[in-house]
Amino acid sequence: MSAAALERQIRPIYDALDTGSNKSAIVACNKLLKKHPKNVLIKALKALALIRSQKVEESLVLCDEVLQSKPIDDGILTAMMHVLRGLGRHNDMVTMFDEAYKQQPTNEDLGAQTFFANVRVSRWKSAHQIATRMYKQFQDERYLFWSIISAVLQAKDVSTPPNMRTILYQLAHRLITSSPTPSYVNADRFHLHLTILRDLKLYEEANKLIDSDIGKSICATNLSCNEIRRDICIQQGRIQEEAERAEQLIVEKKDRNWLEFLSVLDGAVPAAVSAGTANKSTDAGANINRVQELFTKVAEEDASKDRSAALALLELEKRARTHGLSQDRSRLLTLLKQYFEKFGDKACCFEDLKPFLELEESELAQLTSFLEAVPTSFTTVSELRRLINSYKILRYTLPLTDITEEKESARVAAYVRFYFEGLALGDGLPSSELQPADDLVLLAGNTYVSLWKLTDGDCHLLNAVYLLEFALIKSKQSFLTRLILIRLYRLLGASNAALEHYRAMQVKQVQHDTLSHLILSRASTFSLSATGDITLSTECLESTQIYLSNSQETGDFIVRAFTGEKYSQIPEFISFEDQLDNSLQRDTVKIEHLRMRLTHEPINSDLIDMELIELKFIFDRIHYDNRDFAILPNYQPKLSEGLHNQTLLFSKPEGDAWMMTFLKVYIRAFQQASDLDDTVEEKLLIGDRPKQTADFDKKLSLRDRLMQRDPEHLSSLTLDEVKFVEYAHALIDWLEPYHNHCRPPPAVVLAEAAKQTELKTGHPLKGIDIPPLNGNGHHKKSEEPPAIHEAPEVVVKYFDAAKSRFKEAQSKPSPSELLHVATLAQEAYLLLVTETLRFKNPSVVKIHKLGNLVTNFKTLRSDALSALAEISSTLIKRGESDGSSDSRHLCMDHCSSDLSSNIDHDFIVTCAKKICDSRKKVLDGVGKGIDRLRTTYA
């Protein structure tokens, strides 16, 4: 058959792949392979279709075959690029392109592909070498710059030793100065050049570039270049020059970028006191006066059009005070008042003034009386905003002695009253708009939380819910209101209501990473997975889609930034990718999902092995905390712990410590329950092993690291979690020797894996010699089993203790804590099930003579089961009572008169019903779930 005819037959395979018809692509490949059994392209395409149909093992076989043929054909390489990416085998991709490029060194496109393959796995050294070679070969200056930035990126890589970094920067410097055309032909090349000079501290050379006409014009039109220019000036102490330049911009060009004002301020007086600044005080005094005049003039000119100069005056005075250079003690207060007069009707006035509210007692008293004099009657939105700003500042500066139940109650009454009055101002607004009075509700919400903290009375949380829910009718799109509600509903044990609001915010894409903590932190407490309701565990999976997009897409854009020569963006993209890939929230959700999964899916070796491998990868990662807590509208006094901390579920933050603690528990438990040891795992692993980025003592073994306990870590755990962790480790320590004794040797495990693969794919596993098996598959050990010990006391008594904690928690009006205790007891039981899974097989027990050990389990299990039975039935009963109309009435009775006089009674009924229904659902579901697990693992 001619080549053209073959090509015609291959085209439908591409079409099928393009339209996602992987099945028909496979069929078409098989048909053609019969006629052309040696055609590598068809094999590569089949491998691609297979991987896209999740048939990983089969794809692997073909993939290896294709790679062995060392392809150079463009079509094959492209298909294989997708295959290898799908398998996560980026290192093989580098080898493949490397070999192809070696065979065709004049193929420019292939050179670029090889370069990008290296970029994808951050092999900067090889990337640098390839780019250098390409520059020589093809004489395109772009490749010179690729080689330069590769050297810079290698210098920045954490794995590069510090002494190498300077050498690499010097190399980059030498190369960039060797460029035939100067770097300033392109802003991004110029940016790269300045970065190198900055990091090498070659200021003189940098100044020459910056001060040249073309340099000046680039910095004037490119914010990134200007940023680095400013950096270089400051680093070499050209602060005065910078101040003069900024002043010129402010005066002549009317530039109002706050950065320019900061430069002028820095020229007059530094923000912080440092050694060496003290002796310049006479100079500084004169400087301050001069700058003060300048800003005063600008402020007058700008009037209410721009806040920069007015704010700069405040900052100047603040700095003067820090240095003891303030000439007029009353000035700060005067400026604050002036600012409030001028900008008090801007929504951001409070935020603007926040940094300047560190006042002495007498000053504060004056400011307070000034703000208390702000009229409480309003007819315009401006007046209302002024009142709100005054309330925010007053509240922020409250001394501890004023945070009492009585005073907070008075405040909340005022906020509520003016909120309802203020609603009139937003009467005709379209439903998509926000009410101008909304912030009063947020203030009230904060205050109710404060009252709750002061009194421990849930009635304040209920009142907050009624008011905030009402406010949402008036401002349907107020996400700030929803944020507080989400926190409150979780505290109240009405998890479903919290989820409803979370969903209404339409969190999507990268926001999942920064915001899913709102609903997923400790979400297993409310999970009904055991009953088959996988709402929350689905939420976990959905929130992790973004990490997949990140690993699929961001790399492509890094490549695009290379092709488009946007060097300023490359390091940014790389660190973005890294920060998202190694997100703390990602792995916190992973743990939470695992906890739910164990209640939903059968606990068996497949689940254990898969999770074990993933968890170990997580353990080796460095973590970035991208969670957004600043989004919560915090209007609490600055001396209080703030709304975020006050409304944390169980008053305990999640974070690295929490995640690592649970991670250690599960890695240890799964390691014991699994037959995979490191050698087996190595052989069975398909994709590349992720880099170890975590910061730990590399001399320590994995086991050493797992055994490390940091007492400080426990402080982010609730007491019940601490108990659980103690129990878990005691259980694991106890059973470790028996697991190690029974675990089949790696050869046997591999043989079994090979057998399974062959059954599935028809091909044996590669590189594995299967040793002869001794008949029944169970190896016999000649040595005696380890001495049998009784279960440790912590383990034996755990469920009794849990029972009494459960009784205690029943007295709380909110069921959250009760659910916490209950789900932890359930988790403890599932851990016992996991840990004893190996010994369920009677022949294992018999061969290894562990009969006495197994009797221990029986008592443990029956104790646990009876405790869980009690917990389960109590939860179900509690669910009934919490969902009853009596409870609803009780909730409604808590409604304060401030609210009931303004909010329709029926509305309160609906809110109370929502809470009660939601509580009933979760209590009943968790109760029934526990019961179900009792039967499953009886």
Binding site: D188, T221, N222, L223, S224, E227, R256, N257, W258, L259, F261, K305, D306, R307, S308, A310, L311, A312, K346, A347, C348, E351, D352, P355, P430, S432, L434, Q477, F479, M505, Q506, K508, Q509, V510, Q511, D513, T514, L515, I546, S549, N550, E553, T554, D556, F557, R560, G564, K566, S568, Q569, E572, F573, S575, F576, Q579, L580, N626, D628, A630, I631
Partner: protein, 183 residues
């Protein structure tokens, strides 16, 4: 008063106070990265001295011949920072870069015909309606504002290079094109 600085990829971790507002869409990360990987100088952020993001603009340069222009793809300001002329400052940066770096003839943007507040704001910034694009905003469907909800005005502002002011036409509101003719 605000810091004007380049939009960076990591700003995606911090833009919630802007993007949770319903009028601001949160796109896939590829959207932001595609702008940054091509027109980083047309993407900038306004930030409060506290470090909180106040607003941002994403723009691009496109078109051929006399149609070569700067385009404002997204401009947004968080609710609490509105009415502080932030949009104006970001627009003037974008106009300056379109003029000086990209040598564009004009800058343009799309706005919902029903969004009278925004249209008036852009008119103050010397933009004028060049044409009406039918059914440009499909997602909301026809609401209270009827056709004005889903149609867009393409508003343009000439830059010095547009010597003949061809990006201005007095009857722009009456010139109607369909959405697939424009992008």
């Amino acid at each position: 008063m605000s810091v004007l600085r380049p939009f960076k990829a990591s700003d995606m971790f911090r833009f919630n106070n802007i993007n949770l507002d319903i009028w601001t869409e949160t796109y896939g990360i590829g959207f932001y990265l595609s702008y940054l990987s091509r027109w980083p100088d047309l993407c900038c952020v306004q930030e409060a001295p506290s470090g909180r993001m106040m607003g941002y603009v994403l723009g691009k340069a496109e078109g051929s011949g006399a149609e070569w222009h700067g385009h404002v793809t997204a401009i947004t300001v968080a609710p609490e920072y509105r009415r502080l002329s932030l949009a104006r400052k970001m627009m003037s940066l974008l106009e300056m870069v379109s003029e000086e770096i990209y040598k564009a003839f004009f800058v343009d943007l799309y706005v919902r015909c029903a969004n009278i507040v925004a249209i008036e704001m852009y008119e103050k910034m010397e933009y004028s309606v060049y044409r009406r694009v039918r059914e440009y905003y499909g997602n909301l469907g026809i609401g209270k504002g009827g056709k004005d909800e889903e149609d867009a005005f393409d508003m343009r502002k000439p830059l010095p290079r547009d010597v003949n002011q061809r990006s201005i036409r007095p009857n722009g509101r009456d010139i109607i094109v369909s959405a697939h003719d424009v992008s």
